[in-house]
Amino acid sequence: MLGAVLHNLRSRALRTALTVGGIAIGIVALVVVGSLAERLQTIVGRSNALNSNEIFAVSTGFDRDGSVTAADSLNRAARQIRRFGGVRDVVAEVIVPYGVSAGGAGDPGRFGPPALVFGFPPAARVYQTAAPQVASGRDLRPSDVRAAVIGADFAAAADAAVGSTIAIYGNSFHVVGIIEKSFTLFDAAIVVPFAQAQALMLQDVPPTVPALPRAPATALMVVVDPHADTGLLARRINLLTGLQAHDPKATAANFASVTSIFDAIIFGAALIALVVGAFSIVNTMTIAVTERTREIGIRKAIGAGDGDILREFVVEAAVIGALGALAGIVASALIITYVNARNADVGNLELFALTPRLVGGSFVFAVLLSIVAGLVPALSAARLDPTEALRRSA
């Protein structure tokens, strides 16, 4: 049957090409915007996974001009938060901006997150189970001095590799590992030993500051029990002086809400394009039924039932849909590959993610939509009175 269908389609090549092209354009729209949505979902999903059982509390008082007293208040806050119900641990971290101007060496680009220098104490490592892994080289060791593990985007932007040397505030660090691309903050991260991150933090403290903090840090990672009320805990943390915390579940919900609205808008626009393509199938199949009225009469005369005729025209519509979907998916893959390659040059961000579920879903959707579009003309073909069909075109 497929051979006959393809022969029918070939026998009216221009009309078939136009109809297939209509579906292909719709599929290109669906796949390209769908790839954008897939990428966003990846980013949001990974960020949420990274933070699901952690409340991240940033010191609001610290900056590198010498307000180091905020570091002392952070340590006091950490001791208080440890006593909150539902809190398993509080780990101090150092996060300081890498501090290059936009477009400078190491700037991962205007689309990416800002480059940050991280210092995690050994205790933090225990809780970073969802953190992206080191893809090449190795992770930091407790014995490391002046060593750094850098994110994939930072590595690309700074043209650094394992074995390279990078400068942070004039200090040289030896790159020992590159972190896998994860579409999280870690893509633009420079992770250095905790003690050296603390040293970097205090490096520019002016001599007027009377006393340096005992255990300087800029943020707290509050590890909570899986079923803890993170919203309540975040509110309690925010009542403490000099800290700003966000409920990770609320953040995830906000992201989900924004991405679902975004998804609805772009999928809606793409669907309109695809439905327009489906109308062209209705048109093509209606013409095909009219042209083949006598053939339908003959088929019925030699024993075809309504179901046989219906199936033949529906299969033809489905084949048009499948060809359009294949053409659209190939075109989308080329567009996405090109745009991603261009973005890799300028901004180090792959905007589109062409996932197997998007490709499979788009293909199945196009075929189903084509079948639905082909049903109306196919039903009219199936219901043709055979004597009328034979007479009308005799």
């Binding site: 088929r299 005369a301 030699i302 024993g303 055979p386 007479r391």
Partner: protein
């Protein structure tokens, strides 16, 4: 109604394959344009007979062929084909009758352009739900019988008119029908091809005992039939 039962009817050899009583067919009945195509015909056709139906254009012979072919239902009276009352049978029964017990040969060949010769011949078997292997084997044998063993994979456009009509004859016979209906089978053929096609139809009728009903204008065609049925204005002419 399954194919095996249809292909092996419990019928006595001398039974009439067609029994028509007081057949009336009115097209567009009840409308201002209604046409009384058949006006009370009664006739029997014996199994294995070779019958020609002749008449002028508009005499009602095509309507009669559509009724014999289970494509249409009578307005009144009855048409019984191979034991099935066309007026009372369900749509599924009529479909099964057409698929398995009736073979059509049309004027103008009317092969399906998108299928090759073998696929065209197999088509009625497919509609009769005959297993594909069996259908293919029968179709190959029939195409060989009509002299087209080397044209099985040609599409209709690649065959001459005479060859197309021979494919159409093979198609009509693939389900070993009780009744073969041929509507002007030589209408678009030259004399030589006409002779070949008529020879084939008659050979099949004699050798395999198919009942052959040929609707024709052509004296050369109807003169070869065992029995001639003349129709004028929807009625049989003595």
């Amino acid at each position: 109604m399954n194919f095996d039962r249809l292909s092996a009817p419990d019928a006595a050899p001398n039974e009439n394959v067609v029994a028509i009583r007081n057949l009336v067919k009115v097209h567009a009945a009840g409308s201002a344009t209604q046409v009384r195509a058949l006006a009370g015909i009664s006739l029997d056709i014996a199994r294995g007979a070779h019958v020609a139906v002749v008449g002028e254009s508009g005499s009602g012979k095509t309507t009669l062929m559509h009724l014999l072919g289970a494509l249409d239902r009578p307005t009144s009276g009855s048409v019984v084909v191979d034991g099935v009352d066309i007026g009372r049978a369900s749509r599924a029964e009529l479909k099964a009758l057409r698929a398995a017990r009736i073979g059509f040969v049309f004027q103008g060949f009317n092969l399906i352009a998108s299928l090759d010769a073998l696929e065209n011949v197999m088509l009625p078997a497919r509609y009769a739900r005959v297993p594909a292997d069996r259908a293919r084997e029968r179709a190959r044998r029939l195409l060989a019988d009509v002299g087209l063993a080397d044209r099985m994979h040609h599409r209709p456009a690649q065959l001459s008119g005479g060859q197309q009509q021979r494919v159409a004859i093979a198609r009509a016979l693939v389900n070993e029908p009780a009744l073969v209906l041929a509507d002007e089978p030589t209408g678009e053929l030259d004399r030589r091809s006409s002779e070949t096609v008529l020879g084939l139809l008659e050979g099949i009728q004699r050798a395999d005992g198919h009942t052959l009903v040929v609707v024709t204008h052509s004296e050369a065609v109807w003169k070869r039939a065992q029995r001639v049925i003349r129709i004028a204005d929807g009625m049989l002419v003595a």
